[in-house]
Symmetry: C3
Subunit: 335 residues, 3 copies
Amino acid sequence: MDSPQHFLSPQPFDRAFLDNVLDRAVRMKHGADKRLLEGRSLGLLFFNRSLRTRTSFQVAMFQLGGQCVNLTSSSDFWDLEPEEGKVMDGSAPEHVKDAARVLSSYLDAIAIRTVPFGRNYDVDRRDAVIHAWAKQARVPVLNMESNVHHPCQAMADLMTLRETFGELKGLKVTLAWTANPQPQSAAPVHSLLTAGAKFGIEFTVAHPDGYDLDAGILADAKAEAERAGSTIRVVHDLTEGCRGARAVYARSWPSLECYGQPTVEAVKRSRFTSWIVDGARMRATQDGKFLHPMPVRRNVNVTDEVMDGAGSLVYQQAENRLHSQKAILATFLKS
Amino acid sequence: MDSPQHFLSPQPFDRAFLDNVLDRAVRMKHGADKRLLEGRSLGLLFFNRSLRTRTSFQVAMFQLGGQCVNLTSSSDFWDLEPEEGKVMDGSAPEHVKDAARVLSSYLDAIAIRTVPFGRNYDVDRRDAVIHAWAKQARVPVLNMESNVHHPCQAMADLMTLRETFGELKGLKVTLAWTANPQPQSAAPVHSLLTAGAKFGIEFTVAHPDGYDLDAGILADAKAEAERAGSTIRVVHDLTEGCRGARAVYARSWPSLECYGQPTVEAVKRSRFTSWIVDGARMRATQDGKFLHPMPVRRNVNVTDEVMDGAGSLVYQQAENRLHSQKAILATFLKS
Amino acid sequence: MDSPQHFLSPQPFDRAFLDNVLDRAVRMKHGADKRLLEGRSLGLLFFNRSLRTRTSFQVAMFQLGGQCVNLTSSSDFWDLEPEEGKVMDGSAPEHVKDAARVLSSYLDAIAIRTVPFGRNYDVDRRDAVIHAWAKQARVPVLNMESNVHHPCQAMADLMTLRETFGELKGLKVTLAWTANPQPQSAAPVHSLLTAGAKFGIEFTVAHPDGYDLDAGILADAKAEAERAGSTIRVVHDLTEGCRGARAVYARSWPSLECYGQPTVEAVKRSRFTSWIVDGARMRATQDGKFLHPMPVRRNVNVTDEVMDGAGSLVYQQAENRLHSQKAILATFLKS
């Protein structure tokens, strides 16, 4: 058996491959490739909640002639053991290995949203659960958001930027850390940075002291940017970060300095409630557009004025989840 | 963009419109209009449990060539903020406005069952949640039972009465409050009263002292009845209420005098356990039929004798949910 | 109305009938009978969790042109009262009778996984819940695992044995009790024993003292085996039970001597952790194959060596759930 091709992160794919997916997404938005996946079944495994992802995948498969089988771990099934060789006398009655092999015999692909543990970053950064699935599955595994990556979101983000600006090379995009009551995963930011660098986007990452991105992800993205002829800079002031940007992409993420220490993180985080994307900051951009992977906490991440303003691309970006996922499905389920 | 036409209550629609929906429902029951919604997706958002509604909508869409995307808030997604302008630093990570806009870009319509809060009637009677969805959605919103209305149930009720009696004008129908361990929403009664009055049904509302229907709903229904040449009367004795009726429609509802005071309500309610539709009361009718929107608490709302008797229309009424919802879908998704 | 034919257990069906279902399953595995159930809807009612059954039924119906409506009691609906004549003032707001009648008017068949109560075997052995559904439903009821039977699993088991060995008559199959942290239902073992005896399989049942199978099920299977010219023997040593077997089928089940007494059962059960299917025991077989209805607790029920060895049929067996259920659906939904 040939190993199936998975979509766990944008990292293994080159610009030409990703470009083809984006081109296909645009054609699909205009009605091409209908019923390309007639009779196919995609499993959706949710170990965490979802509104946009769940709905857009179900509509995507249906419009392509297939179906989704929607599986929510909290109500539908049980704990799965990811480690090999264990004596399984604990809470998990089944091994990922066996669930993956069995589901591979029913389904044409398996899409997974994993649980962000948030306890130990050395564990979480390895994304062990989705890699265990990918290792064992005999069909493609698609990442619907793991601890580290959210590649389907990144493809919708790039599609939206390309629709708006035409050319991605040299485009100034600010990845803006924002206030939020709880830490959220950095996965959408990691995937957009990883994929966007391959296209030569000029990223500015703006975050408070102590909220550095994962050093490995950032180093890889810088190397990719260099190959594509662009640079990535980091600043520690939101207004400075927005200056001159064509697009501001807002997301909160955790402090790796106190990862797994929620009380310490909460105190640190409470000092940065002024990190909100507002009208003044958007006026510092170069007629900049606003993006956000959603869900949005209005008047905490971003003001109503910006969210509802003419420069907001958030709904177009969310709609593009549907079209880009159809392109991803058509690409990976055919391979 | 033209504003989509929603189905939140029967109130805005005239008799001719509702008649067309009923005619279509009958044709659909006999097999017409197959696959009219080929490739369309209907979102079902449940903020409260459902068996009949969930199943009948999923079968309805499938038989019309579409699909449902089934979303249960308790396990699938999260709290949504309905108020505008809020600083969203509380439990809700997303605004109804944004969920509605995003889902509108994936789905062809959104059907919603809201949570009955039961705390403050001045709040609940405004049905703010479903109206917030309707205001923001770019696709039709269908009410699968809100605090105040259950229009899909009312259409199935009217279809069943028309099948049984032919003509609705002048038909004597008793809306009978019954015993029940907990208060239930008055939504099915409100919608049947509102819609039936337009057809000139002669309603008798029978309930114990202190269980008056919402004054605004009742006044509107009386005005509609008058226009249609009929009347609505209220009595406070179940046997008297059944006398001469062609149909008895049973449902419990809360006392508005002690709404939001569950202990007080429970004491008051416990005095009325004799409000059960039984054989003696049905023998006081004019060969009357029995209807109930279900679920039925046997031998509490109604005796087994009546439920299982020849005059029970409950299963036909429940089956008509399927046919009338197909007609509703065909009407609103095409508009 | 003719009473529909249900599939609650293999017991009422003769060998020829079951043989036809298996033949059809093989043809379906090779692509026959596509879209035989175009437009049909199957309800899946889960009162207990499921991964394999839920997924394989949804894929089966879709590949046959139909759909499943997936209903999970814990999140989607409510308690249902199974007893007739009750005054329903308790926790259940609806009667099985009414749910079954109403769902029969929407769905073409109803598949049910019941809750194993595990309190009182005299109650549980009657399988009252699934029989209440079967009595009231106007469409076929399919058992997706009740307290006593799991006939869909048994059909996949027999299909797998037939694929591997050709002829079932005289085939030596060992039903091996294994260690497990909690008791599991004996349903898969009951159904395989009941169905396999009709085909003349030579069963050996191996279990520790105090873990006797249900006497009635065993007596019926022995009578069927005798008619088919074979015998069923019981041994109390796992290695002895494996000796000479062509296939070993592993499953844990509860002790009927202390059913409903979890603490007593746990102590008894803790004495038998050596009841694991391992390489040494498999080498005592006659080139035996390994089967398990899953989920598998690795290195508790069976060692990794056996699970991942060349003699393991578990993934083929799990895949055959899909094909055999398509044959079951085609058989019962057409009748």
